[in-house]
Symmetry: C2
Subunit: 130 residues, 2 copies
Amino acid sequence: MKTTRNTTAKTAVLEIFGKSKTALSHTEIYKQIEEICDRVTVYRILDRLVNDDIVHKIVDLDGTVKYAKCHHHAQRVHIHNHAHFSCEKCLEITCLESVKPSYIIPHNYKVNDINFTLSGICPNCSNSNI
Amino acid sequence: MKTTRNTTAKTAVLEIFGKSKTALSHTEIYKQIEEICDRVTVYRILDRLVNDDIVHKIVDLDGTVKYAKCHHHAQRVHIHNHAHFSCEKCLEITCLESVKPSYIIPHNYKVNDINFTLSGICPNCSNSNI
DNA sequence: ATATTATTGCAACAATGTTGCAATTGATTT
DNA sequence: AAATCAATTGCAACATTGTTGCAATAATAT
């Protein structure tokens, strides 16, 4: 089996996630550590973090791909079934951990994962409207 | 105001949507009409169809972008709030028009659009498992 | 038939993501 | 502490997807 290693680059990426309240794109992350490592390395670190369930991948309605740290509390297998909010104005994506969709689906469909993204105007941006 | 025109390419794209039971990517559409028009034209036609609410855009968990014809029944303004199912095996995306998520979101978020995509194994593929 | 303007083709560009391979480096063992 | 093994990285090159400007074309209204 593959063992996972703690490298300088990976640590840097995790630190960035720790500081951020919103989801981050590959580009946003890379810009913060371009002296430390290569563009490709960031892609590979993100892949690994997603595989290890440390980070989850979010795709919004435009097709923009972002990543956010998982806040799961010791569940064994977990589905990222909470909502994500994508603001049309500031373009930030935020996890709404408490918002979970309920739905009824025909039982011949086997659901493994869920993507529930809402887009609109976030509280911050609707305040600054005057 | 801009008036919209019926061109050969646009008609061809609409015919393809008419025939297909699943959502289609730009590439899948272009492959079927590459003798008729340019790659860029297909992008522009899709943009227009989305703007005119004739087609809706779907982004699945991988970031794959597809389009499907709208089946709305004379609603004035409509949100595509039905679910989409993305099969991990055959990679097809299907609209589940009857599956609509219900959810509760803090009222300081203003929701304009919804993306609700489920991924897993579709009925077709779970039958052919043996 | 003509005029208007939406639409198209082309070429060029930009952004995003992937791959192969040799070099490096983290963790483990001796 | 040095040697070993394999995970990780850098680089270069490529693939895919989507965008833009502009001149040429074609769909509609008059």
